[in-house]
């Protein structure tokens, strides 16, 4: 008993798509070869320095806890910077997000301009802002704060304006029909709707800032990063590993806190 349809059915020919996969793989291989040449892949160097690397790793596993008191000012500054930057950017981003959303800004020209500017602001990495501000304003936490605020604005405005775009606009329609201006209608009808998202994104930005604050010091913008910068030039890995450990602890604590906070918000 055969398992088949009527004998004589025309069998379709197997589609010949294998060549597509070959092309893709060839392209990927080509790019990889080119990039390894460009960056100077030097496997030999790894082999030579493997011993060094192992040493470093061992030192990294043994943080020097006695160094802790000296790290406290930098640690504190990291947290302070993050909090201040979050607070400032959260306040500035609110009106800007409303300007950047089609749901709350009826003026297409202004909308386009704000969105474009925000896209540009968002394309610049945080460390780059930090470098620029350090040169313009000087080293220290102030440049870090400026850098973080700009960095946050781009992210916050994008996230919040996208949330606004998707909201139910019924209350806004009613407010406009009752003679309120766009500003009043948005404030009264749209703001409460977007508030939970806004708060959740503010917490996300705080997380990002704490992470970023730990490293912007590498270019002089304050916080733990400056300590890393000082310490790495002397190859003091025991100290370095303590600092890294602190960073790890902060980040992990943050993640726990934020998932806790986010869960309480969702309900």
């Amino acid at each position: 008993m055969t398992v088949a349809g009527a004998v004589g059915d025309v069998r379709p020919t197997k589609p010949r798509t294998w060549w597509k996969a070959v092309v893709v793989l060839a392209v990927i291989a080509g790019i990889t070869v080119w990039s390894s040449i460009a960056i100077g892949v030097d496997v030999a160097a790894i082999a030579e320095n493997a011993h060094n690397a192992a040493n470093t790793l061992i030192q990294l596993m043994q943080p020097d806890y006695s160094f802790f008191p000296q790290t406290v000012p930098a640690l504190l500054q990291t947290v302070q910077m993050a909090i201040i930057a979050t607070a400032v950017s959260v306040v500035i981003a609110l009106p800007v997000s409303f300007w950047a959303s089609r749901a709350t800004n009826p003026n297409s020209a202004a909308l386009g301009i704000v969105r474009f500017i925000m896209n540009v602001v968002r394309s610049v990495p945080d460390l780059l802002y930090a470098s620029l501000f350090v040169t313009v304003v000087g080293t220290g936490a102030l440049s870090g704060i400026f850098a973080l605020v700009l960095f946050n604005l781009g992210i916050l405005v994008k996230l919040v304006s996208e949330a606004l775009d998707g909201l139910d606009r019924g209350g806004q329609e009613a407010a406009l029909a009752s003679g309120a201006s766009w500003f009043k209608a948005n404030r009264q009808a749209m703001l409460p709707e977007v508030a939970p998202v806004y708060i959740s994104q503010a917490i996300y930005v705080l997380e990002l800032n704490i992470r970023a604050s730990t490293v912007i010091g590498l270019v002089g913008a304050g916080g733990l990063g400056m300590l890393i910068d000082q310490v790495r030039t002397f190859y003091q890995y025991h100290y370095l590993s303590l600092v890294i450990l602190e960073i790890l602890v902060i980040v992990v604590l943050l993640e726990l806190l934020s998932s806790f906070a986010r869960r309480r918000l969702i309900k």
């Binding site: 080119w34 540009v120 610049v124 990495p125 102030l142 490293v215």
Partner: protein, 314 residues
């Protein structure tokens, strides 16, 4: 003239008041919301404390606007286009760093993420692995790069390795998350048909998870490109290095040109990877900007008719 009669409508309960003559429901009192208020008070105190305790001189704030204008002028009026070829070369180097690093990260993380999937390996293997992923995710890439100084010096190769190591954490996590969220049906069918564990992974898990995995590989590449620019800022090469050199030597018109290059390249990569992701998920090549414009015109047509209430469902 307020309503005095109350009506039973089945949806409200008139409150009981004193004298039988007045049956108007009482106005409720404003709720206290003490919990929420407490949270706001705490947050405000923390913020004020941060402002108060930080050790910086705020007077730089006063001169900031004019300084900004001054420097923006130096950077962009006009930017140093003559150095554009150098900038593009440096950009290529950064992209190469990102490509190599991401590829390496993918190769390493792929088997590891499979091993970390619930249902494919025992817990004693999974949890340490997930822990490693978490640690690698938590350490910022720049720190990894700094650590690798002694191994390969601060070069583009270091940058690529740092990107690779950093990406193992996120790629690993996204990997096992998508493997775990796969529809169980094909897996059951494969196991019932007698497939070995490897075959189940290949045909049951991989085929379903493939689009998501390709998508986040691409997304990770995007992130890596940004990371490579950042790593350049601490000296690893590429456009970041060119930037930091020119910033240090205050060659502002080159800095301005480089900023434009960074922004434009970031935007192009966003669009390109959006297009490739669109292709993977929806099977068509389309630039995100085209999709957005198309959706906007459909939405506009629809909203015009909704405003005027002439839709099909009317």
């Amino acid at each position: 003239m307020t309503a005095v009669t109350t009506r039973q409508t089945g949806t409200e309960r008139p409150s009981s008041t004193g004298p039988a003559a007045s049956r108007a429901p009482q106005r409720p009192s404003k709720p206290l919301h003490l919990g929420t208020k407490l949270i706001w008070v705490v947050v405000t105190i923390v913020v004020i404390a941060a402002f108060w305790s930080i050790d910086i001189s705020w007077d730089a704030l006063l001169t900031l606007p004019q300084k900004l204008v001054h420097y923006l002028g130096l950077m962009f009026l006009p930017p140093a286009w003559s150095k554009l070829p150098d900038a593009l070369g440096a950009t290529m180097l950064s992209v190469a760093m990102a490509w190599f690093g991401t590829l390496l990260g993918i190769i390493i993380s792929f088997p590891l993420s499979l091993l970390a999937t619930r249902g494919l390996t025992p817990a004693v293997v999974r949890w340490p692995l997930r822990g490693v992923f978490a640690v690698l995710r938590a350490v910022p890439e720049v720190v990894i790069a700094v650590l690798m100084l002694s191994v390969t010096g601060l070069t583009a190769f270091t940058g690529a390795l740092a990107i690779a190591i950093g990406s193992i954490g996120t790629l690993g996590k996204w990997g096992y998350e998508s493997f775990e969220s796969v529809d169980r049906g094909p897996i059951e069918a494969a196991t019932a048909a007698g497939a070995s564990r490897l075959q189940v992974m290949r045909w049951g898990v991989w085929t379903s998870a493939k689009p998501d995995v390709y998508a986040f590989w691409l997304y990770r590449f995007e992130i890596s490109v940004r990371a490579s620019a950042i790593l350049g800022l601490i000296g690893a090469g590429g456009i970041g290095k060119m930037l930091v050199d020119n910033i240090q030597f205050r060659v502002w018109d080159v800095v301005g040109m480089l900023m434009i290059v960074v922004v434009v390249v970031t935007m192009i990569i966003d669009q390109l990877s959006g297009m490739v992701r669109h292709r993977i998920i929806e099977g068509r090549w389309e630039l995100p900007i085209v999709t957005a414009l198309r959706r906007r015109s459909v939405k506009r047509a629809r909203s015009e008719s909704v405003d005027l209430k002439i839709t099909a469902d009317d």
